[in-house]
Symmetry: C2
Subunit: 135 residues, 2 copies
Amino acid sequence: MDKELQAQIEAFKSYRIDKSPLEIIEHYRKDLQAIQDTLDIAAGRWKMQIIAILCNGEFRYSELQKGLPKISPRMLSKELKILEQNELVIRKVYDTIPVKVTYRLTDYGYTLVPLILELTNWGKMHRERIMKKEQ
Amino acid sequence: MDKELQAQIEAFKSYRIDKSPLEIIEHYRKDLQAIQDTLDIAAGRWKMQIIAILCNGEFRYSELQKGLPKISPRMLSKELKILEQNELVIRKVYDTIPVKVTYRLTDYGYTLVPLILELTNWGKMHRERIMKKEQ
DNA sequence: CTGAATCCGCTCGGATACTG
DNA sequence: CAGTATCCGAGCGGATTCAG
C-alpha cells in the first residue's frame, strides 16, 4: 500500500526530470480541469458526506438527518435535489400515509466510491497525526 | 480496475445486509467525521488544484499563476499560506534580486497524491459522460 | 517578482417557523 | 414524515491598486 504510494509519487517526480515548470503546467491543464469538474459536482460541506452515507444502501430523509445531525432540513433537501439532478442519486416516493421517501445512489453515483474511500482514509490518517502532535 | 470497484461496492452492500439503516449510520459516524476533516483541509476552489500542480515538483509563485490563470494573486497567496500552515507545502525564499520564491509539497503533502488522482480520474470520466450525453 | 491592502458582491449555509 | 419559506450573517473569492 505504502509502496504503491511511493511509486505514484515517483511517477510524478520522474515525469518532471526533462521538462521545465511551464511545460509541465501546460501538459497538466486537462488534469486541473478534471479536478475542477469533480469539485463542481462535489463542492460544499455536505454532498460528499451524503454520498458516503448512501454508499451503504437506501435511506429515508429522516435517517439522513440523523446521520448528519448538524444539517438543516433546508440544506439536506437542497443538496439532495442537486445530487438528483446530477444523476448521482435516485429519489423514490412511496404513496403511503404518512409519506415515505427514500434516497439511494445510482450506478453512476457508485463510481464515486473510490473517491469517498480516499477522503475517508486521508481524514483518518490526518486525525491520528494531529492527535500525536498534540501530545 | 473496474473489478476492484465492483468489489468495493459489494463490500458496502454486504455490510448492510443484517443491519438497520440507523445502525449503519451509527457505526459510520467516524468515517463521516474523517471526510469532514479532509474537506476542512482541502475546501475551496483552489487548494486541490494547487496541490495537484505541486505534485509535479517545485514551482515559483508566478508559475503557479500561469497554471491557474483565473486565480487572483490574493487568493493564491492566501491559499498557499493556509497550505503552509497545515504543513502540506513548504515555502522557500531565495535572496536574490528580484526575489524568487518557490513552493513544493512536504512529504505529508504527498500523502494527498491518491486523493488527487481520484479527483482527476473521476473528473475525466465525468466529462466524457457529459460529452456523450450532449451528442 | 511576489505578494499585501482594500473594497465588494454573492452564494453558502445556519436558524426558525410553517405546510400537505 | 418530508420537506418549503423566509430571513440573515459570515466568509469565500473576484477586481483592482499598491508596495518592497
